[in-house]
């Protein structure tokens, strides 16, 4: 069943893509009100791609190979009754990609900065990731710090308190999460979106700025019915 769901999701992505690229060639309206661009950054092996996979597929990807360059994922979420499409760019953590993946920071509305709670070195490098983020994004970009692998308590090298203090000092949102169990993964992605949405509502984020990382789309209901049909198929299935 998950395979069917994955195929349906892929079809949706494909359709959305063509609608975005050729809005005048189709009468189909968008099934979301906003697009938010996210980036995921952090050292190699901290679990960036696993967090993304857990968020988009609700599954843990064991034996995840190192990302080559950059990966991409999407999911439509809901904040305050508004449908928001998250476009997530997941960057490679390997040093050799560091300089070239900087171009993906531009125009990000949200930056998820990830370290591994069981490897202190990945935490120690956060200030360098933060410097890049501050330099390459705009002041309204929401930066969310994620301490991943919270399920590995016995090998923890960074305490919650220490990281929380770092986050507070630098004005970052913060959660410890586990891409393996799924704990707090949803929350991290959703809270980032809520904060971005709040910034829009309060006028802190200019939608017309080219690098705000947010696009506003007029919404009409017909595509939503396609989504609910797809969900309906799943619900009726006895498997």
């Amino acid at each position: 069943m998950s395979k069917v769901r994955s195929v349906v999701n892929k079809l949706h992505e494909r359709i959305d893509y063509f609608i975005e690229k050729c809005p005048n060639m189709t009468a189909a309206p968008y099934n979301y009100n906003y697009i938010f661009k996210y980036i995921i950054i952090g050292d190699m092996g901290v679990g960036k791609s696993c967090l993304l996979h857990q968020f988009t597929e609700k599954k843990f990807m064991a034996n995840c190979p190192h990302t080559i360059g950059v990966e991409f994922g999407t999911r439509i979420i809901e904040v305050d009754d508004k449908k928001i499409k998250l476009q997530i760019w997941d960057t490679a953590g390997q040093e050799r990609f560091r300089a070239v993946t900087r171009s993906y920071y531009r125009g990000a509305a949200g930056a998820l900065m990830v370290y591994d709670i069981t490897r202190r070195s990945t935490y120690n490098h956060l200030s360098s990731w933060l410097t890049d983020t501050r330099n390459l994004t705009n002041p309204s970009t929401v930066i969310f710090l994620i301490g991943n692998k919270s399920d590995l308590e016995s090998t923890r090298e960074v305490t919650y308190e220490e990281a929380k203090e770092f986050a507070d000092e630098n004005g970052l949102m913060f959660l410890e999460a586990s891409a393996m169990t799924g704990q707090n993964v949803e929350e991290a992605f959703l809270e980032t979106a809520r904060k971005i949405y709040q910034n829009i509502q309060e006028g802190r984020l200019d939608l017309n700025a080219s690098e705000s990382g947010v696009q506003h789309r007029p919404s009409q209901p017909s595509r939503t019915s396609l989504s609910s049909e797809a969900t309906g198929v799943k619900d009726q299935c006895s498997c």
């Binding site: 080559i68 990966e71 050799r96 300089a99 070239v100």
Partner: protein, 158 residues
């Protein structure tokens, strides 16, 4: 995959890495692997076919001369070829990669290419024509496997 393939490198980035590449070339006639790779990474993401072809040539050279990074080069060779719709070559790189490592990134690139392809109007250049891989005893066995897969990819491309 559509988003990745249609994403275009910012012009200023392409120019920055191009400048670095030429600067090193002029300075000591030699270019660091890192610089070559960064420039190639930008070129294959350019909107212009000629840039992408140039990036592919650089990546082929890197794949010959720098085995440690071959995994990245093969992926971006497949990626660059897919961007200029040279699917036959692109798919061969995907196959060569997947023979060695199971990888979702490569699989989605493979799945993106049309399944039934007419052969391109002109044949793909023999990519590893002059390739002679120095396989010293110090090279770990997995690299031998990579090389073997590359050799077979080359044979099927010829």
């Amino acid at each position: 995959m559509d988003e990745l393939l249609s994403d275009v490198v910012p012009q200023e980035d392409l120019e920055r890495f191009e400048k670095k590449y030429h600067h090193e070339l002029e300075l000591d006639g030699e270019i660091a692997t890192e610089t070559k790779f960064e420039y190639a990474f930008c070129l294959v993401r350019s909107r212009y076919t000629n840039d992408i072809r140039k990036g592919i040539l650089l990546l082929e050279e890197l794949a010959r001369t720098h085995p440690e990074g071959r995994r990245d080069y093969i992926y971006y060779l497949a990626f660059g070829n897919a961007r200029i719709k040279e699917y036959t070559s692109g798919l061969k790189y995907c196959t060569a990669f997947l023979d060695i490592e199971s990888n979702d990134q490569v699989r989605s690139l493979q799945a993106h290419s049309p399944a039934n392809l007419d052969r391109p109007r002109y044949p793909a250049a023999p990519l590893y024509g002059s390739l002679a891989l120095p396989l010293s005893c110090a090279v770990p066995s997995s690299l031998h496997e990579v090389s073997a897969a590359l050799w077979s990819a080359e044979r099927s491309l010829d």
